[in-house]
Symmetry: C2
Subunit: 311 residues, 2 copies
């Protein structure tokens, strides 16, 4: 398995006080950390949960973080994300909302005496049924950074999440398949012939957001039009891209109105996608502010590490 973008600052003379890991379905990222939460080094690989059997996680981890371990000492590793799913390293039971985003960590079985691995639990909501694994740690990071935060958090992505936070607890959340739908339509459907991989058209995005929010059912009718307009009227692929994005994000915003209506939104993701959500919310006269996702993941993992150290 190839390591595609191993960071250049992962030198062999760094010793971590503890190690933070964000282990998702398709990627694993790890950071050598100081006790007070500073990043000493980082690494990233495509050894995601989806490509590993339960007995392969330890070796995969050691291959990437081994150089940060201290001889004759056990280093704590705190990991969040799909690594704790049923198909992951070990099945960490979900905590049910309402609850604090950070929960009791669960030890993963290891054979190497140099590591002590603890996994963050994901969250579940029984009605409407919903689950998250990883995003709760970013919300925990937001609460660590802003202890009094009460409001709504939006985490755009493959499976976007809207999260209601009150008095330090997550009270409700809702997942939308917007990112996955976009990827399927743009790359696998008949629309793939008409959608540019890059480029943007801001007015087209704005118009599509308004169409979708005003008349959500229209989205279903507008999708094929992107293909037909490309055939009949040479619709620019960049315009089609922005419009598809606007239709799908708009459909999400139409359904998520109970979340963002009337209160400011903390968007987690200082990315182009996060900016698109901010732009869309602005069009709907809703205020939002963008937070860096990686920074919040690290703050959330650091809070979990501190909780562990206080045990």
């Amino acid at each position: 398995m190839s390591i595609t973008d191993k960071s250049t600052d992962s030198t062999t003379d760094i010793r971590a006080d503890w190690i933070a890991v964000d282990w998702g379905t398709s990627r694993m990222r790890a950071w050598a950390m100081s006790a007070d939460g500073k990043v000493l080094a980082s690494t990233s690989s495509d050894k995601g949960m989806g490509s590993l059997a339960p007995d392969q996680f330890e070796d995969a981890l050691l291959a990437d973080i081994g150089q940060w371990l201290s001889p004759g000492q056990r280093t704590r590793v705190v990991a969040c994300g799909m690594v704790g799913a049923r198909q992951g390293w070990v099945d960490v039971p979900y905590k049910a909302v309402p609850c604090a985003p950070a929960g009791q960590l669960m030890a993963a079985p290891v054979t190497d005496a140099h590591i002590d691995v603890r996994l963050c639990p994901g969250l579940k909501q029984l009605a409407p049924a919903d689950v998250m694994r990883g995003e709760e740690t970013q919300v925990a990071g937001l609460l660590a950074a802003r202890p009094g935060f009460t409001g709504v958090v939006c985490l755009p992505g493959t499976h976007s999440k809207w999260v209601r936070v009150q008095d330090g607890q997550i009270t409700a959340f809702q997942t939308f398949m917007t990112g996955e739908l976009y990827a399927l339509l743009a790359e696998k459907s008949v629309l793939r012939h008409s959608i540019a991989p890059h480029g943007w058209d801001a007015p087209a995005f704005a118009a599509a957001i308004e169409t979708a929010v005003d008349t959500p059912a229209a989205v279903s009718a507008r999708l094929f039009s992107l293909r037909a307009e490309a055939l009949l009227a040479d619709l620019a692929p960049e315009t089609a891209r922005a419009r598809l994005s606007g239709y799908l994000i708009g459909l999400e915003l139409a359904a998520a109105r109970p979340y963002w209506g009337g209160q400011p939104v903390a968007i987690i993701g200082a990315t182009a996608l996060g900016q698109h959500y901010a732009t869309a919310l602005q069009l709907l006269a809703a205020r939002s502010e963008i937070h860096d996702g990686e920074a919040l993941t690290l703050q959330g993992l650091h809070a979990a590490y501190q909780q562990l150290s206080g045990d």
Copy 2:
């Protein structure tokens, strides 16, 4: 290229007066016909437009229908579908609606003196932009069978079409990507773990139709719930299947209300899918009747053949 379901009645002693062909993106079906429109034999192969270069169509056709040709004579072949697309045998320009569903056929270039191949034009609509290739021939077949038909036609499928017919003309139509969306979500998305390939749950389908028609935006919020309910509450995969189908067909019906509202619908497709649309329309207090798609394709191609013979 393999022929997967060549019909057993394609014997060598059959001579066609003319040959009907329905040539789509993924399949080619051909029928040996009598002059008065009776089926003498049929064949089917996976040599769809999508797998052929322009100069491969003639050989692909002759391989399948050669046994029906008469020595020393040129047999007419009338074909509809994606064979006339830009990437097909020859690019047959779209006719613009409003117009009759049947139009001037275009000859395809051939080298073999035993065939004379004519392709049906597809239809286009400029605003909202839309196109069809193949379905117009089924609507022509419906008009051939019921010359006075005025009303709405629904053609469920990968790209479902809603068509308004008045005084022998198609006045407007609208394409929905419902079937393709279903296939992408059920087979390629995270929902694939939770959706059965077969089975059904009629009450779950009905409830999903009502949800989607009443609150179209909710569909966007409900999709991931299928996965979450499977994880948290062992949702039956057959129920998830019916619910996903209901959400997507419901979203289509919500947007297609200007078509089916207040008038009976002719559904083309005597299939399980056609029946699901009829059930959904009944739930919405709309009347519909189901017509066999293959029979209407043949009636439409026969009408085109007769028009040709009258030239």
